[in-house]
């Protein structure tokens, strides 16, 4: 079953110096539990696309279906991870992971139990009374992920979610997050400018054109069943995927 279905989505907005068409006729779908990476030339509106799916921006045309139902406004089925962890420094880890539930007024015995479970599973339970600045960058990112998962999303949008981390932390955190998300059976959509990361995590890579963006290609990525983002980097197929996507992207950069 397709968890997310985007049909003919388009977005235009008014700027000081005229109307800008960010993208047109975007159509794709993501099956339940799959991971779709989105890459595209810089400035093509990749992040705007995520904001649109999340309902943070009003789309000007087309439809977005989540779990078979058309989405209107900010959908409670969607979780969103931004570039930085955005933890609130004045709250403990526990109060940070409850933040989403608090905003949605969804704190109950059941959600508290689920959140505790998440913290336990991912090794953060002992740190629940600490403050964010007492944790390492990788741990903070995990806290941010648990904050998002605690709200029980069916679809997770990752907006360059690891780009603020240094390279080494990034590799381990990517592995971590991938494991967590696959275990929780969340459907994922990740925007990134990092092609290796897109290949390492994705079940498919969607390539966007330059602005106004359209879908150039949805490229399936196939590795062994038990792959991890780190292990598949040494698979011979990895570099094939990389060079294919790189070629597609460069074409667009050159036209520009």
């Amino acid at each position: 079953m397709d968890m997310l279905r985007v049909k003919n989505a388009g977005f235009r907005y008014q700027a000081e110096n005229g109307e800008v068409e960010a993208f047109r006729n975007i159509t794709f779908s993501v099956p339940q539990g799959q991971f779709l990476s989105i890459v595209g030339p810089s400035g093509c509106g990749k992040s705007t696309l995520l904001s649109l799916i999340a309902g943070l921006l009003p789309r000007t045309s087309g439809t977005v279906e989540i779990g078979g139902e058309e989405a209107k406004g900010i959908s409670p089925h969607i979780g969103y991870m931004l570039q930085r962890d955005n933890l609130l420094e004045w709250r403990t880890i526990w109060d940070n992971v409850l933040f989403g539930l608090e905003i949605r007024r969804a704190i109950s015995d059941e959600t508290i139990k689920r959140t505790e479970e998440l913290l336990r599973t991912y090794g953060l339970y002992e740190f629940r009374n600490k403050y964010p600045r007492q944790l390492s960058g990788g741990m903070r990112q995990r806290v941010a992920l648990i904050r998002t998962l605690a709200a029980g999303p069916d679809i997770l949008l990752l907006d360059e979610a690891f780009s603020a981390l240094d390279f080494q932390t990034r590799l381990t955190v990517t592995d971590d997050v991938y494991r967590i998300l696959k275990a929780e059976k969340v459907t994922m959509l990740m925007v990134t400018h990092d092609i290796p990361e897109a290949v390492a995590m994705g079940d498919a890579v969607l390539i966007l054109s330059a602005r106004p963006a359209y879908v150039k290609e949805i490229y399936p990525i196939v590795f062994d069943e038990d792959r991890s983002p780190l292990s598949c980097r040494s698979d011979p197929r990895f570099s094939q995927y990389f060079s294919h996507i790189w070629k597609e992207l460069r074409e667009d950069e050159e036209v520009k």
Binding site: L82, Q83, R84, N86, E89, W90, Y131
Partner: protein, 271 residues
């Protein structure tokens, strides 16, 4: 840094620690020494007639005046000034905070108010003195009003700038959970700006005192500002100097009070 019990300090570390301690002591010694030295010099200069003690007073005469005035109601004067300052200060904080929240809430209101705030900020509020006295009457109310007028606009500008500089990505994070504007305000913008608030409070203490003293110069029957003006009029510079000294102590104490509150609040929020 805590010393560890089982690992012996390296000799370099011991030397460094000793130097640090010496430096701290030396700074304190200089701070007190300078004060005492100046007082002694002042006293000496006055006694040896290098300076005219009638015009600039001298420490022993200030102490004498303080003891003398404390018999005839010095505490009342301090109390009056303190009351006016604190009332003006709290009113300034409450109104300033409310106006800045309103401006943050509605960008339209904020844009409309901008030129007014800028002009009012640069205007010397003391110039409004006669108007304030006419409206509020020649008394305590006018003085509190003056303190409020001086501290209000600065609070609004300071807080509003803090609100507008709240991390946009954190706000976006809250919005992805569907946070309303009210929730963004209470869970993010306000707590994120606690440091801004305390900075603004520290500035406001000084400003409220300026307002109160200026107000007391214009209209009053009691207060430290009144004592200063009175002392000046009857050529009793000892009284003027004594009042200024008390004023300095009051300002320092209030500043310490705000610092103390800041520490308490920071502890509560783990910062």
């Amino acid at each position: 840094m805590k010393k560890s019990n089982n690992i012996p300090l390296s000799s370099e570390r011991a030397v460094w620690l000793r130097q640090q301690k010496k430096r701290r002591i030396s700074i304190k010694a200089w701070q007190w020494g300078l004060l005492i030295g100046l007082m002694v010099l002042w006293e000496l200069a006055a006694t040896l007639n290098w300076i005219d003690a009638f015009l600039v007073s001298q420490p022993s005469r200030i102490v004498g005046t303080l003891l003398n005035t404390s018999k005839n109601g010095l505490l009342t004067h301090i109390g009056v000034t303190l009351y006016e300052t604190l009332t003006g200060f709290f009113l300034g904080v409450i109104f300033g905070l409310s106006i800045s929240v309103l401006c943050w809430w509605s960008p339209f209101v904020s844009r409309v108010a901008e030129p007014y705030l800028v002009v009012l900020n640069s205007l010397p509020k003391i110039a409004l003195g006669p108007v304030i006295i006419l409206i509020a009457g020649a008394g305590t109310k006018a003085i509190i009003f003056m303190a409020l007028a001086i501290s209000l606009i600065v609070t609004v500008l300071e807080m509003l700038s803090g609100f507008h500089h709240t991390d946009a990505e954190i706000i976006k994070m809250a919005q992805t959970f569907g946070a309303s504007r009210k929730q963004v305000l209470s869970t993010i913008v306000l707590p994120a700006n606690l440091p801004t608030l305390f900075n603004s409070l520290k500035i406001n203490i000084g400003l409220s005192l300026v307002g109160v003293i200026a107000g007391e110069f214009l209209v009053s029957k009691a207060g430290l500002g009144y004592l200063i003006v009175y002392g000046g009029q009857v050529f009793q510079m000892d009284l003027v100097m004594a009042s200024v000294l008390i004023l300095a102590a009051v300002a320092a104490l209030m500043y310490q009070g705000v610092s103390f509150c800041q520490k308490l609040v920071s502890k509560r929020f783990g910062a």
